[in-house]
């Protein structure tokens, strides 16, 4: 037997251990420990067990990837296009679709009727769908919620600025970020958008007004080139990094792209110095007077608390945390994540180091959205109609050589279906979608909605 890993040694297993062996070994070791008198021993065993399960999932994907694609895989491509088998009347997908279509038509009516901009009408429409008989089935409810998330993540449509607020409240996304994070890539994107929205709401009044006015200006000026003021363009440039997920839900994507281009052009022409200083980040003059404003300078002892920076001494704990590694693409390019960091850190770093990311982008081009989509189109995967899988989401760390050839694929987040993960990994291994000079290391997430959206 080869040298084993510490977590396997703890479980008394070798590197050839399978799922049943790991569970059995954990059960055996667990029975030797008194959880109350030996909490440390328990936590250490639990940790070994959880790492072993992850290691196993990882090993399986690596094995699957190293196998050549099976020849029969390409034999029946039409299967991909054929709809899933005719479902029974209590099929959760059908139930969810029914409710979703009904919801879409009711919000369409709201959008057409301009007077119905009130949140209460949207809330009533969403609540009516949720209360509908067809969504009593819990699986159907989850699918329905995932579709709403997807709808929002797909970019702004008329009324989405209201739907975003209403859905966040009615579906409890605001209060429970786990809930939305579990809805795949779209969910992760919306979770960040909510964080950004809440950050906006915790700003002092003058900053909120400035931002609100900017949003209105952007919305009403889809073609800013030569029209928008220099101050607005610079402010947009400053804010778009911090709020880009939120903006892309409440503002049309083409408009955002136009503003982005116009701002870049303006900066190249005249630099970043504003004609009139942009005030929104200035500390209010009464700084420190009231610590309850949630936005004040430091006044020593009584102010709430500080910043979290690192999760200490627990590299191993980090490995076991279920981190969300997907970033949704801003208009032009896909951002990269730093693997192995907790979500909390990512959110912070997202706020802090956008500038670093864009500097990186000038040296090595990250893969474009189009390239990543090309990979997605090549994925051959047929979901098992017998399984209810919902939204599948898998994340990989990908490594390229100088020629853009994929030399390593590592799964960092497994979906619920091994077959899907295998299919994506296989495609990544054999793709030639990335041109030479593409960034050497990046993370990528793909998701798949079984049952068809």
């Amino acid at each position: 037997m080869r040298d084993s890993f510490p977590f396997l040694v703890r479980l008394g297993l070798g590197v050839d251990a399978g799922a049943t062996d790991i569970r059995r070994a954990y059960a055996r070791e667990l029975k030797k420990i008194d959880q109350e008198t030996d909490p440390d021993g328990f936590q250490e065993l639990r940790h070994a067990y959880e790492v072993a399960l992850q290691w196993l999932a990882h090993r399986e994907i690596t094995l699957a990837v190293s196998e050549p694609p099976t020849s029969d895989a390409a034999a029946e491509p039409e299967l991909m296009l054929s709809p899933p088998p005719a479902p029974a009347s209590d099929d959760p997908y059908q139930l969810a679709d029914q409710a979703y279509m009904q919801f879409l038509s009711s919000i369409q009516a709201l959008v057409l009727n301009k007077e119905a901009r009130h949140q209460s009408r949207w809330k009533a429409a969403l609540q009516a769908s949720l209360d509908h008989e067809s969504l009593l089935n819990l699986t159907a409810r989850t699918i329905f919620e995932a579709r709403i998330a997807q709808l929002l993540a797909n970019g702004w449509r008329p009324g989405h600025e209201t739907l975003f607020v209403v859905a966040s409240e009615v579906l409890d996304w605001t209060r429970d970020s786990w809930r939305i994070q579990q809805l795949g890539e779209a969910g992760a994107m919306i979770d960040r958008a909510i964080d950004q929205w809440k950050l906006y709401e915790s700003m002092p009044d003058n900053a909120m007004v400035t931002i609100k006015q900017l949003i209105q200006a952007v919305r009403s000026t889809p073609l800013p080139e030569g029209v928008a003021s220099r101050n607005n363009l610079l402010l947009f440039h400053q804010l778009t990094d911090r709020f880009h997920n939120w903006f892309s839900i409440i503002i049309d994507r083409a408009t955002l792209q136009n503003w982005h281009n116009a701002a870049q052009a303006e900066i190249q022409r005249n630099g970043t110095e504003p004609a009139v200083p942009v005030q929104y980040l200035e500390t209010p003059a009464e700084s420190g007077k009231s610590s309850s404003s949630g936005w004040s300078g430091w006044s020593g002892w009584q102010i709430t608390f500080l910043i979290l920076m690192l999760v200490k001494g627990c590299a191993a704990l980090l490995n076991t945390s279920d981190h969300t590694t997907s970033y949704s693409p801003p208009p032009a390019q896909l951002e990269q994540t730093v693997p192995g960091k907790s979500t909390a850190q990512l959110r912070l770093e997202e706020l802090q180091s956008r500038t670093d990311a864009s500097m990186l982008a000038q040296q090595e081009m990250p893969p474009t959205e189009a390239q990543l989509e090309a990979v997605q189109r090549q994925v051959f995967y047929v979901p098992d109609p017998a399984k209810v899988l919902g939204v599948l989401k898998v994340s990989f760390d990908v490594e390229l050589d100088d020629n853009g050839k994929v030399i390593n694929v590592e799964r960092v987040h497994a979906s619920r279906d091994q077959a899907y993960d295998d299919a994506v990994a296989r495609t990544l291994r054999h793709t030639n979608a990335f041109p030479p000079g593409t960034q050497r290391k990046f993370s990528v997430s793909y998701s798949y909605k079984t049952g068809g959206l």
Partner: protein, 570 residues
């Protein structure tokens, strides 16, 4: 000997692990369910259980019920001029249960496993443990109710591999747990719940509706006696609806009879807002466990409120199938507590069984977020222990001051899932003085330790000086200190509980008084005479005479109970 106790909102039970299986212990009336009610009798003795429940209607100012809902709070209940905290009333229930067990087992009982709703907060758990201490019991373990139900269920399936969900709707709380059973390991994968949703809420909604529909004068809501008999009427009707298609709610007051017909459809319409609230904890537990309804092998029902057909139908619709009904939902939690007692005593029959539980909510601290420049956004919540982490667990995170001028850190500890700290439940705070040296590590390690009982300990260590501070819960008056517990234990011990051997007759008398209050006219006079005769027979203090009189009196009670329910106006 360790006993297992289900200290419920409506009813409480006690059980032991005996000869390789859990067994319920009957109270002095021969019943397993002891109503969680306390009443102070005219002579100052304490009545527990059924007699106290009857007296809720006849003596509302010297009786109390549903106090579990106020565990961990500062609310005082006044019974016969004496003030009690929820812990103390619970302690009296525990004391009665303990005496039942001592009588049945013939040995003193000093240790217990007590169950609590999985979603009970830190303060509520500590209050429950204090109640145990006040009853003279060492609480060996606080066990989550759905986990207890799962133990009772799983003990019969220990050789199998199975995934199931426990749906526990009790009198006052709602809990959901998803479990995985393999190789004798019973692993709670996720728990979720609602601390303010239970059978009592269904009763309250029906009462509201009754007031509206039958135009009962609103002032009557202040009338303790009227309200308590209304509660009893509604409860009876609710229970009747579990067997019959319809029931009639009826109550008499000051010359008027108020009535409201009730059937399944009406019940469903009236309680729709409550039924809707059952969904979200189930959804959350399933999502947290990363499972779909189709992956569950079974749904185990616990808690008396799951007997209601409308609740069962709701469960069936949510899961697309009918739940398992082979365990008595009233008893399953107490049985599970006894299994845990068996585990705790290392019983040989349970050698191959082990259970792990989770923290049902996230625990963390308030932090500020760095925005660039010297700007911070305050009031964000940073979880240290994420919800559904397997317990016991201990985790450390490192925090830094935001300013070099800062001379101290206040670590505010919260429980909850919201992004902003203010939307979560504040548990307390630690103040840590720091003296900063530029370029040095001025951080603080914050360690959260969550034990198997669901109790939290927070410790902050200043990295530079290695000085350690422990969380002192401040501004949380809902908790007794060890000193206060000692004091109150002494005071409570002086209270006389009505003797066990005479409780049966006392309960019958209480029931007679309640019926007397409910009846009118000839029936009332007749019952009055029966009560007097029975009291006189008891005065003779002859066991044979008492027994015979009790038999006759009981028949009369049954007759009048039936009468009063069929037609109050006869």
């Amino acid at each position: 000997m360790i006993v297992g106790i289900d200290l419920g909102t409506t009813n409480s039970l006690i059980a032991v692990w005996h000869n390789g299986e859990p067994r319920l212990i009957p109270n002095s009336l021969g019943e397993f369910l002891t109503p969680s009610c306390v009443s102070v009798d005219e002579d100052g003795t304490i009545l527990i259980g059924k007699a106290a429940r009857e007296r809720l209607q006849t003596h509302p100012t010297s009786s109390a019920a549903v106090f579990k809902r106020h565990m961990g709070s500062n609310k005082l209940f006044t019974l016969g001029g004496r003030h009690f905290r929820a812990e103390e009333l619970s302690a009296l229930i525990l004391r009665a249960l303990k005496e039942d067990a001592e009588a049945a087992l013939g040995q003193p009982i000093t240790e217990a496993i007590i169950t609590v709703p999985a979603y009970f907060s830190d303060a509520q758990r500590k209050a429950t443990r204090a109640a145990g201490q006040l009853a003279g019991l060492k609480v060996e373990r606080l066990l989550n109710e759905p986990t207890a139900a799962a133990l009772a269920y799983g003990i019969h399936k220990r050789g199998q591999e199975t995934q199931f969900l426990v749906f526990d709707l009790g009198g006052g709380t709602f809990d959901v747990s998803v479990l995985d059973l393999f190789e004798g390991v019973m692993e709670v994968r996720a728990s979720a719940g609602d601390n303010f949703l239970g059978g009592e809420d269904f009763v309250n909604l029906l009462i509201e509706e009754f007031f509206k529909q039958a135009s009962i004068p609103v002032e009557l809501k202040q009338d303790g006696r009227f309200m308590q008999s209304l509660v009893a009427q509604v409860e009876q009707a609710k229970r009747k609806l579990s067997e019959a298609p319809e029931a009639l709610l009826q109550i008499y007051h000051a010359g008027t009879t108020y009535s409201m017909p009730l059937d399944e459809a009406a019940l469903e319409r009236i309680t729709a807002p409550l039924l809707a609230r059952l969904r979200s904890p189930v959804e959350r537990a399933l999502r947290d466990a990363n499972l779909q309804t189709a992956n569950l092998d079974n749904i185990v029902l616990a808690g008396g409120a799951t007997r209601m057909p409308i609740v069962r139908r709701m469960v069936a619709r949510m899961f697309g199938r009918f739940p398992s009904c082979d365990l008595n939902p009233d008893e399953v939690v107490a049985l599970g507590a006894a299994v845990q007692a068996g585990l705790k005593m290392n019983d040989a029959a349970l050698d191959e069984v082990v259970m792990t539980d989770v923290a049902p909510y996230s625990l963390g601290v308030e932090v500020s977020m760095y925005l660039g420049g010297d700007q911070y956004s305050h009031g964000h919540f940073d979880p240290v222990i994420e919800r559904n982490t397997v317990v016991p667990v201990s985790k450390v995170k490192n925090y830094h001051p935001t300013s070099e001028r800062q001379t101290g850190l206040r670590i505010n500890v919260f429980q909850g899932e919201a992004r902003m700290a203010r939307d979560n439940i504040a548990l307390g705070s630690i103040e840590v003085p720091i003296s900063q040296i530029p370029g040095q590590n001025n951080g603080v390690d914050v360690r959260f330790t969550y034990d198997a009982n669901g109790l939290l300990q927070v410790e902050a260590t200043v990295l530079r000086t290695k000085e350690t501070h422990t969380l002192v819960i401040e501004g949380n008056p809902g908790m007794l200190s060890q000193e206060e517990i000692k004091e109150r234990f002494a005071a409570l011990s002086e209270l006389k509980i009505h003797p066990r051997d005479r409780i049966e007759f006392r309960t019958m008398l209480a029931r007679g008084e309640r019926l007397y209050q409910q009846l009118r006219g000839e029936a009332r006079e007749h019952l009055g005479r029966q009560i007097m005769q029975f009291e006189r027979a008891l005065e003779a203090q002859d066991a044979r005479i008492s027994r015979e009189a009790a038999r006759i009196f009981n028949e009369a009670l049954e007759y009048f109970e039936h009468q009063s329910f069929l037609n109050l106006d006869s």
